[in-house]
């Protein structure tokens, strides 16, 4: 199946008959909309002249101060001067790549990694090199070996991009010890680390783990309100060492003059006047029920030979199909059964991932998630049946990388 055919299939995901386990849209239906409306009303009446004006290229000081409070939840001690506000953390990634990467430079990332980040790296003509993971995330020895081998081959390795909490797409989390080991490798080889942490506060059991940035001030840290509040404001941030921060501000002014000022007023207002920590607790229990529904659904309906991860937060479960199956080839059959997922190949720059799929539990209700697992189980079983009928082997398919669904796919 061609790359554009895969992407086109995601357009059925928004149909109500289809259980979409494909998208990554947070469920924000439970936000206190009436109270928010009232509060925004007051914001426009009282501060409209400033809120609708151009702002600072670095982002408003009051917003950066609030962000430092939010980051303290994950043990980060930061100065508001070192924070740059961006249009979602996606733009933070874009700015960081823009100032560090020249065409042909190497970016290291998890195997597999976030499809949106790889899109950014590709747009700056970076070479993406995946580093092996185990059940605790990136493997430090593999990271060291990759740096040595790539440098020996004359390649410029610019940074490691990692999602230590509930990695997108695998849902895997690096324990604290693993974070320290990875930082030690990075220090030993003089490698910059870019830590992307959109989901950390959505830890289901226990408290959020300390961020890598809390262990090493040289780490560039990307944060976002998209999952802890709402993505439509497009407010994210980057926390960077002083010298990098200055270049980021210049790049940000060149890109958008100033990040969305109204959104910063709105979010700062929300953080000031609403129980945002309580709201995150509400989100955590809501997502916990959905994760449990997915794990129950998978246990009930997946045929033997299928395995999956058990995330303690975030939005995603990573499924490995029985040997011989190809998730990209399975997608049309799944769509016929009215369930959608993202084929694993979207999360590799090198054509791997054909036996994997990413399932998201963030948007559908628990009942729909279980039904989606049932439909998916049927599609996989039917596909296995066809493979057995035709005596197909266990060759691993390699594909051209596919793109993921658009951000507004459910």
């Amino acid at each position: 199946m061609t790359v554009s055919a895969v992407r086109a299939l995601f357009s059925v995901a928004n149909r109500p008959e289809v259980v979409s386990l494909a998208g990554g849209m947070p469920n924000i239906a439970d936000l206190p909309l009436a109270e928010l409306g009232e509060s925004f009303n007051q914001l426009v009446r009282g501060n409209g002249i400033q809120a609708m004006q151009y702002g600072s290229g670095q982002g408003e000081l009051f917003m950066r101060e609030k962000i430092c409070e939010v980051m303290a939840e994950e043990a980060i001690a930061a100065n508001p001067d070192d924070v740059v506000i961006t249009c979602g953390s996606q733009q933070a990634l874009d700015l960081v790549t823009r100032i560090f990467v020249d065409p042909g430079d190497v970016v290291l990332c998890e195997a597999p990694s976030y499809v949106g980040a790889m899109g950014t790296f590709n747009s700056y003509q970076a070479r993406i090199h995946h580093v092996a993971m185990d059940e605790h995330g990136l493997v430090p020895q593999a990271l060291a070996q990759a740096i040595v081998a790539l440098r020996a081959a004359g390649q410029k390795v610019k940074f490691l991009y990692t999602i230590p909490n509930f990695n997108n797409p695998t849902g895997i989390t690096q324990p604290l010890e693993r974070r320290r080991e990875l930082l030690a490798v990075a220090r030993e080889y003089g490698l910059l680390v870019v830590e992307d942490n959109p989901y950390g506060l959505l830890t289901i059991e226990g408290d959020p783990l300390a961020a890598m940035r809390s262990m090493d001030d040289e780490v560039i840290y990307l944060g976002s309100f998209s999952k802890t509040f709402a993505p439509g404001f497009r407010v994210g941030w980057v926390l960077a060492p002083h010298a990098v921060r200055e270049r980021l501000v210049i790049a940000q002014e060149a890109a958008v003059l100033s990040p969305p000022v109204f959104s910063q007023f709105a979010i700062a207002n929300y953080l000031e006047n609403f129980d945002w920590r309580g709201q995150i607790d509400t989100f955590r229990s809501m997502y916990a029920a959905r994760r449990d529904a997915m794990l129950d659904g998978l246990a009930s309906f997946m045929p033997p030979g299928t395995t999956w991860t058990t995330p303690n937060g975030g939005f995603f479960v990573w499924v490995t199909l029985p040997e011989g199956l190809d998730s990209q080839a399975l997608l049309p059959r799944a769509v016929t059964e009215r369930v959608a997922f993202v084929p694993g190949t979207a999360f590799y720059a090198d054509g791997f991932g054909s036996r994997n799929m990413r399932l998201s539990y963030c948007f559908p209700t628990p009942e729909r998630i279980v039904e989606g697992c049932r439909r998916l189980g049927k599609a996989i079983t039917d596909e296995l049946d066809m493979h057995a009928t035709f005596g197909l082997g266990t060759d691993v398919a390699r594909h051209r990388p596919v793109s993921g669904p658009a951000p507004n796919v459910t």
Binding site: A5, A8, V12, A329, P332, H387
Partner: protein, 318 residues
């Protein structure tokens, strides 16, 4: 009675995305012609929308599934709603290549050797012996495709025995019946047939030259991936033979208003591949190109098709 049009696009099929793009293009074209247009998807509220717009003409731009297999058109007839295009039974036959190809062949049109088999036959009888028999009957290279569906989804060219089983399984991911047919090597051509009131007429043939060599989904819907030559650079007698073939297909299958026949010219002789009752209308689709090649206006053609459907609806009611 209103004079409006409901452009129906989307639906729940593998070709939903293409349909939405076709629908937007048709809606825009009709608006340019001064027609009042509403756009609708196939949802639980569709019938209520139709009830609320009494006298509206439906312009179905649905690809695959219920939109193309005649089911929805049957519903429009049941409800007395006027619509553009072929009726339910003609659509059902045309949409299923396993049914339409033999009918076209019986009318004396050259078609590829073809065998259609459902999944259950392979499952119940075992695939091995059947696969051998298919190879003996059709030979290589062969094309494997789903019997029902478009946009080349699930289609694979197979050049040796090793590739056959996987290709059949791929076709079965899109539907229950797979077609195994002789691969026809030659120049890919599409001929649009329009009937704006004076009987069916063939528009200039459009020649298809995909950059990659294969007219697959990407080549069909990505701007710049395929070079279209309209009118096709073919000798006059070949062009005439292509037009005649498209008109025969349109007539034999009792199609109405518009259709598009895809064919391959092999050594100067056209071979029929398939006929579409809901041809693509996207920016890279063949029917709009054919209208342009005939110095027509896509907007004008859409409006005239609507007017014709409206007249037909009034005649049925009187």
């Amino acid at each position: 009675m209103s004079d409006n049009v409901i452009v129906l696009a989307g639906g729940l099929s593998h070709e939903r995305d293409v349909s939405l793009r076709s629908g937007r293009r048709v809606a825009q074209a009709l608006r340019e012609a001064g027609v009042l247009v509403a756009e609708a998807d196939v949802t639980a509220s569709l019938l209520a929308t139709l009830d609320a717009s009494s006298g509206a003409v439906v312009f179905p731009v649905l690809h695959g599934g219920a939109g193309e297999d005649g089911a929805l058109r049957e519903v429009f007839d049941l409800l007395g709603v006027a619509y553009v295009g072929s009726d339910g039974s003609a659509s059902r036959i045309a949409f299923d290549k396993a049914v339409s190809t033999p009918l076209i062949a019986r009318a004396g049109v050259l078609t590829p050797r073809q065998i259609a088999l459902p999944q259950s036959v392979f499952r119940e009888l075992g695939a091995g012996r059947l696969v051998d028999a298919l190879i003996a009957a059709i030979g290589f290279p062969m094309m494997i495709k789903p019997a029902r569906g478009g946009s080349a989804l699930g289609c694979t060219k197979v050049t040796d025995a090793a590739g056959l089983p996987a290709a059949v399984v791929t076709a079965f991911s899109y539907g229950d019946v797979a077609i195994v047919e002789e691969f026809i090597e030659g120049i890919e051509v599409a001929v649009t047939v329009l009937d704006l009131g004076d009987g069916p007429e063939a528009l200039p043939a459009v020649q298809i030259q995909p950059r990659s060599g294969v007219y697959d989904y990407t080549a069909r819907y990505t701007a710049g991936e395929t070079r279209f030559v309209a009118p096709a650079e073919l000798p006059d007698d070949v062009t005439e033979a292509c037009a005649a073939m498209a008109l025969t297909a349109h007539r034999v299958l009792a199609l109405r208003d518009l259709s598009r026949t895809d064919l391959i010219v092999r050594d100067g002789v056209p071979v029929f591949l398939e006929v579409n009752v809901a041809p693509g209308m996207t920016e890279t689709s063949l029917l709009p190109l054919a209208i342009e090649a005939a110095d027509g206006s896509f907007s004008d053609v859409c409006a005239r098709l609507v007017a014709r459907a409206r007249e037909r609806g009034s005649a049925d009611r009187s």
